[in-house]
């Protein structure tokens, strides 16, 4: 069906939805009928579109954090360890020079082959990874370095040691740390933005998504297993919670979309990196004039306002 048909339906739905209905009362049959039509329409078109993005976001050749680091930064110096227990290889952190200024970069790192995937734990960080992120952010804050985070994780690692060493608290404290920073911060979801493990390093002044990245509260498979009791319904789940960049922008969860080369970032990593570089520099330039207090204030206000509410 054409876009016109969807627009027409949306219009009528909007009109009908405008009629005040008491909470808990059944929607009128007309409204339900229209909604079913719209549902089918979406099934025909955007479901496939959304799922294609899920697949691209997880594409095994998609550039990872270090692929961008080597293309974006001069003089990369990687920092290791959380200064407490260990070095979590699922998160990389370091300093480098971007367009002549020193920046701190923190990102999830997936592995390319079996061996590296094991070392990187598929980009699923343990608390030590978030603690490494925190200490790097604090270091950058002390020295006035802007911070760029690259988000690409299926989620924080669900493990026995991870829980014993405080996974939830580490994720909470990493967010709290980001909300206290007085330096400009830009987060870019470059692949999978999986739940708490992703948002832990994505509480930034500007949050961007690459065109084919996804940002989710739970993996499509996890959602399907819980709500439909069937992990195979992942495609359905993905279209229900709309994890693609366009929808995230519409919901004002992100501030912008970074374009990718035709076919996706993996088709031409150099071009993808160039486009990312352009976005990063534009946003960092934009933020450069703001005082630390102003950055903190508006960053907190932005996240404070997230969500959609109704009143009775």
């Amino acid at each position: 069906m054409s876009n016109d048909a969807e627009l027409g339906l949306r219009d009528r739905l909007a009109q009908l939805s405008g009629v005040k209905l008491l909470r808990g009362t059944r929607l009128s049959t007309e409204l339900q009928r229209l909604e079913r039509q719209l549902e089918r329409l979406r099934d025909d078109t955007s479901d496939e579109e959304i799922w294609r993005r899920v697949e691209l976001a997880r594409h095994e050749k998609r550039p990872y954090t270090l692929d961008y680091v080597e293309r974006l930064l001069d003089d990369w110096f990687e920092l290791h360890g959380d200064r407490g227990r260990m070095d979590d290889r699922a998160i990389v952190a370091g300093l480098g020079s971007l367009d002549g200024r020193t920046v701190a970069v923190i990102g999830h790192q997936k592995g390319r082959d079996l061996k590296e995937r094991a070392i990187r734990n598929f980009g699923m960080a343990n608390p030590e990874g978030y603690r490494k992120a925190i200490r790097t952010m604090q270091l950058a804050d002390r020295h006035g370095f802007p911070i760029v985070t690259l988000v690409d994780t299926p989620g924080a690692h669900p493990g026995i040691a991870a829980e014993q060493h405080g996974q939830g608290g580490a994720i909470a404290r990493s967010q709290a740390c980001m909300l206290r920073l007085g330096v400009p911060t830009v987060a870019v979801v470059i692949g999978e933005g999986g739940s708490g493990g992703a948002v832990a390093i994505a509480v930034a002044d500007r949050v961007l998504m690459q065109e084919n990245a996804i940002y989710t509260v739970i993996s499509p498979e996890g959602c399907a297993a819980i709500l439909w009791r069937d992990a195979a319904k992942a495609k359905k789940a993905a279209s229900a919670f709309k994890p693609d960049a366009a929808h995230c922008l519409e919901l004002r969860v992100i501030d912008g979309i970074v374009p990718e080369p035709a076919g996706g970032a993996h088709a031409d990593p150099d071009a993808a990196a160039a486009l990312l570089r352009e976005s990063l520099i534009a946003h960092l330039d934009d933020l450069a004039s703001l005082a630390p207090d102003e950055l903190r204030r508006s960053r907190r206000a932005k996240f404070r306002s997230m969500g959609v509410l109704a009143h009775v």
Partner: protein, 289 residues
């Protein structure tokens, strides 16, 4: 003295509970008033009289938000705030039924507008705000309303340099609100930051279960963190961890006692002492000169 107000109507929270975490549906007591630890069975009034703690073995049954507040607050002091807030449905989320229908059903069943109840109260004469979660409302999941009510409680308390007492009981972020539910993590974290920067205090109580997004946000940021005995308080649930690691989990995996041992909670407090413990902390935090 702690249970003077009328307990709310009985609601079976065990079904929600099992849905959230099937690993625990091991046949240990199917009726909500049957103790899953020792098998003793109680009438509802009996359990209300013991703060919903099993007199035989000390098992802590779930407590709904209104009853929790009645257990903690001085009688007649609780004054609910932001009761008018409800979830919208920006994603028009539809799984087996529409999200709006799930919300309406939950509201009818629980008599709550969402999974958290917030407002002013006094505990042993100390003014504070209480934010108590209710697991029987969609598994205590955190969506826009839970985030907003919690954040407003923090903001109002921040203006007064006051104390927020939160009692968490949640399966995590509410999937039906998609990415907006995830954004309630930084939202509540920001609210705690504002509260603490203004000299205010968060006393965080973790009740069974506190998992996922709530563990990964405000509940872990208390100036002091208390947990109820036997409460599961983890980021990932035991089933997910078992499936991922294929290792045998320790018997106390994710439980309050384990988190105490590993340094993530300050004290494990039995329910009969929760009110007096909070009163002591309120006194101490109010004692700066």
């Amino acid at each position: 003295m702690l249970w003077m107000s009328t307990p709310p109507g009985h609601i079976d929270v065990s079904i929600e509970h099992k849905r959230a975490d099937p690993a625990r549906s091991d046949g240990r007591g199917d009726h909500p008033n049957t103790c899953p630890t020792c098998g003793s069975h109680y009438r509802d009034e009996e359990l209300a009289d013991t703060l919903r703690v099993c007199p035989q073995c000390g098992h802590h049954f779930p407590v709904r938000a209104p009853e929790r507040i009645a257990q903690l607050a001085d009688p007649g002091t609780f004054d609910e705030e932001d009761a008018e807030l409800r979830s919208a449905d920006p994603l028009e989320f539809f799984d087996l039924k529409p999200y709006v229908e799930r919300l309406a059903e939950a509201e009818l069943r629980t008599d709550l507008g969402d999974a958290i109840l917030t407002g002013r109260a006094a505990i042993d004469g100390h003014a504070c705000r209480i934010a108590a979660m209710d697991f029987s409302f969609m598994g205590g999941s955190m969506g826009s309303v839970v985030g907003e009510r919690f954040a407003r409680a923090c903001e109002r308390s921040a203006d007064e340099g006051g104390v927020v007492v939160s009692v968490a009981a949640s399966g995590g972020a509410r999937m039906q609100e998609g990415i907006l539910a995830l954004m309630q993590l930084p939202k509540t974290v920001a609210a705690v930051g504002d509260l603490q920067d203004a000299g205010g205090t968060l006393l965080s109580v973790l009740a069974h279960p506190t998992t996922g997004g709530v563990t990964a946000s405000f509940a872990s940021l208390g100036d002091v963190i208390l947990a109820e005995p036997g409460a599961l308080t983890s980021f990932a649930g035991p089933r997910v961890v078992a499936q991922t690691t294929r290792e045998k989990l320790p018997d106390d995996f994710g439980l309050a006692e384990s988190n105490y041992r590993f340094g993530h909670v300050d004290a494990v407090v039995v329910r009969s002492e929760l009110r007096s413990t909070l009163a002591r902390l309120l006194r101490l935090f109010g004692g700066a000169r």
